[in-house]
């Protein structure tokens, strides 16, 4: 218990006390409630087994794996270009961001580096997919809390971003645009101007969401002080991304590591929040969308001329070796540990996806909360089923 703020300390004690109370006071027979696999709040097929007393949760446990697709095994029988098409589907809302760490790991093994124009475009598309992903979260958050309008705003404005991604890559959801050594193609004409307009629209969207949802007293009373994750607990459960930053940990892989991407050429703030509750997590994400639009704007100004593809052989054989690359994806840290034995395809790939670690804190977090707060907490943790089950 080092470096805990007073607020967090109190919340931690309260949660421990709730634990003890639950064990001692309640003699009544509880009710087991299956939330999921088919439930509107689980974004797919996550199952949460909760034992309730009245509307209070005594014990809860997530049960993942209903949508396991075996990506780690599939990659063993695919070539490197084919794997890129597959890993698109892990976090399906921010799919371009899934390709990048894998390609970076393969490039690291081969000892090639993408030209700087390719790095810039990669970073732009990465941030666009972050915006698309998190803006949908902001709308979905409203639906989870009973407000139906924000989600339509989110779908409306995400569509502009998806149109940009489709215009550049050809795929709305599954771009498959990264190649080892660079990108498949250069940007189409008009992309830069259009992106500037869309970024302005997205900032308006953020303002709208802030007025409609974050400023609303009902929203605040539903999220403030709910699902508090203290700093040390967040670290010990291996949370990453906005969930960790909302607990006051200043940790962002975009800034903290040296990888061949263009983030270090831009100037952006890493948003943190001291509270660690649901509101903080949502608020951090909202601010991050704003920061992302600023990053994209800066990159559009400084995009260098040149080729988008380094010199690589047509049939790609990755030399023997092991490499680990992780990036700050929309949901948190996503990394690939690639083991190659000199073939056209990887020998083994370990995928570290953010959501799987993020929901591992759910049993700790759900003790003693009410049924409506389960939904708030799950929504604010923000997971994507493909990212949990892979």
């Amino acid at each position: 218990m080092t470096m805990l703020g007073d607020r967090q300390q109190l919340a931690y004690i309260a949660s421990q006390a709730a634990d003890a109370r639950v064990n001692v006071e309640l003699e009544t027979e509880g009710m087991t409630l299956n939330i999921g696999p088919q439930h509107p709040a689980t974004h797919g097929t996550l199952r949460i087994i909760a034992r309730l007393d009245g509307e209070q949760v005594v014990w809860a446990e997530p049960s993942a794996g209903y949508m396991h697709r075996g990506y780690e095994k599939l990659t063993e029988v695919r070539t490197f270009p084919q794997v890129t098409a597959l890993v698109n589907r892990i976090d399906w809302l921010g799919s371009f961001a899934n390709e990048v760490p894998f390609i970076l790991a393969a490039e690291k093994l081969m000892g090639v580096e993408a030209p700087s124009r390719a790095q810039h475009i990669r970073t732009i598309l990465f941030e666009l997919s972050r915006i698309a992903n998190v803006s949908l979260f902001l709308g979905d958050l409203g639906v989870q809390l009973g407000a139906i309008t924000p989600v339509f705003f989110a779908f409306r404005d995400r569509e502009y971003v998806l149109n940009l991604i489709e215009g550049a890559t050809g795929g709305r959801f599954h771009p498959n645009f990264d190649r080892i050594g660079g990108l498949k193609d250069d940007l189409p004409a008009g992309f830069i101007d259009e992106t500037r307009i869309v970024m302005k629209k997205l900032r308006t969207f953020c303002d709208q969401i802030e007025d409609l949802l974050f400023g609303n007293e009902i929203f605040q009373s539903r999220t403030r002080g709910i699902g508090v994750i203290p700093k040390d607990v967040a670290l010990s459960y291996g949370l990453s991304g906005a969930n960790l930053r909302a607990s006051g940990v200043d940790w962002d892989l975009r800034r903290d590591q040296d990888i061949p991407m263009a983030w270090n050429k831009t100037d952006f703030k890493v948003i943190t929040h001291p509270d660690g509750d649901s509101f903080a997590r949502c608020w951090v994400r909202l601010q991050e969308v704003r920061e992302s639009t600023k990053i994209v704007d800066q990159l559009l100004d400084t995009i260098p001329a040149g080729p988008v593809m380094a010199k690589v052989p047509k049939i790609i054989k990755v030399p023997e070796g092991e490499a680990w690359v992780s990036t700050e994806n929309p949901l948190g840290e996503m990394g690939y540990y690639v083991v190659s034995q000199g073939d056209q395809g990887p020998f083994r790939v370990k995928i570290r996806s953010a959501s799987f670690n993020n929901i591992s804190i759910v049993p700790w977090l759900l003790k003693g909360v009410y049924v409506p707060d389960i939904i708030t907490i799950l929504a604010s943790l923000y997971f994507i089923l493909g990212d949990i089950d892979r």
């Binding site: 409203g142 009973g146 009902i218 539903r222 409506p372 389960i374």
Partner: protein, 354 residues
């Protein structure tokens, strides 16, 4: 003319038929309009889309298409609800019945009314709570944990908000000096404020606090969004309606919006002057001197006022998230009830003082 139109001289069976038809129109027409105008169109426009456009001009026939769809669906009874299937099937009807009972006391014009109860508002508040029974039965008989939670939440919520509603109405009753809805309308339209009778004396001005409390309670009674935890799609799937399908779900659906319409009518009668226009405009002094055409204009005026109120109910519904169960209870017991008690006291004191 009154006699022919409102059937007081006709044989009893013919009167009954007229009243049944009138009741159906009075419940279903506002419900349909509310659904089309607000749920389909206003909601869509607030979300920058157009809503249904295919069925009929601007999708105006969409509701009939939906009803047709629901009527075709299978009437499913869950296996665990089979032993008490009758109760399960009965629940939606109870909910709808309370709406029909409610509309009985609503006056639509000087002579256009179903019954002239001396204790009309008392009766209205009493029968409106019958729907709690239906919801509780629906939640319990579904043999579904989500439905059970939804039903229990609904019971707690409806009971909690009945109280501020009654207390808010008491202010109006004190000021009007009657519980008869017709006479409350007359009292507002013949009244004057500081000797000026240009707009009568609508109680929304003198009883503003009661009006706000009443509208909040209506929002809660109808389970509209800040208070929609009994339904709560994202938590309880659909609460007590989860297991219903086909026309039984349709009945719940009609019940929800018809009740919204009827409650808005009652609110406009209590606070906005109901079917009347200020009597001074046309030189009327009592209800007997009101011209006959008000029997046709009255329903339209009431309808317009009702729509204005439903607009606010729906607007709030579409723009805010929902409260939590305990927050809702706290709000009712710690905020609304004390305020409405103070309001009653002030009203009584002022009534005596003037």
């Amino acid at each position: 003319m009154n006699a022919v139109l409102f059937a007081s001289d006709l044989p009893y069976w013919l009167q009954s038929i007229f009243r049944v038809l009138g009741g159906l129109v009075a419940v279903l027409l506002p419900a349909g309009t509310v659904v089309y105008l607000f749920l389909f169109k206003m909601l869509s426009f607030m979300q920058s889309r157009l809503g249904p456009m295919e069925a009929g001009p601007y999708g105006s026939m969409q509701l009939f298409a939906e009803v047709g769809k629901w009527l075709q669906k299978e009437d499913i009874v869950p296996a665990n609800a089979q032993p008490e299937a009758r109760i399960f099937k009965m629940a939606p009807l109870i909910v709808l019945a309370s709406t029909f009972l409610l509309v009985v006391v609503v006056p639509f014009g000087p002579d256009a009314l179903f019954t002239d109860f001396e204790t009309g508002i008392f009766y209205a508040l009493a029968v409106s709570s019958i729907s709690v029974l239906g919801i509780l039965i629906a939640g319990w008989a579904s043999a579904n944990k989500y439905s059970l939670l939804g039903g229990l939440r609904a019971a707690g919520q409806l009971v909690a908000y009945e109280l501020p509603m009654v207390l808010a109405v008491i202010g109006v009753v004190i000021q009007a000096g009657t519980m008869n809805l017709q006479q409350i309308v007359v009292a507002q339209n013949t009244g004057s404020m500081f000797g000026w009778d240009g707009i009568g004396n609508p109680y929304v001005l003198t009883q503003f606090v009661a009006f706000i409390i009443f509208m909040i309670s209506v929002q809660a009674e109808l389970s509209q969004t800040p208070f929609d935890m009994p339904i709560a799609e994202s938590e309880l799937v659909s609460g007590y309606m989860t297991e219903y399908s086909g026309f039984r779900f349709l009945i719940f659906f009609i019940g929800e919006f018809a009740t919204a319409g009827v409650f808005a009518m009652i609110a406009s009668i209590l606070f906005l002057g109901g079917w009347g226009v200020p009597f001074a405009w046309f030189g009327w002094t009592t209800i007997d001197s009101v011209d006959n055409w008000m029997n046709f204009a009255g329903p339209l005026i009431l309808f317009a006022k009702m729509m204005a109120l439903v607009f606010f109910i729906m607007w709030i519904r579409f723009s805010s998230p929902r409260l939590r169960e305990d927050q809702l209870q706290r709000f009712a017991w710690k905020v609304l009830i004390p305020i409405s008690l103070v309001n009653i006291m002030l009203t009584a004191v002022l009534k005596v003082a003037f």
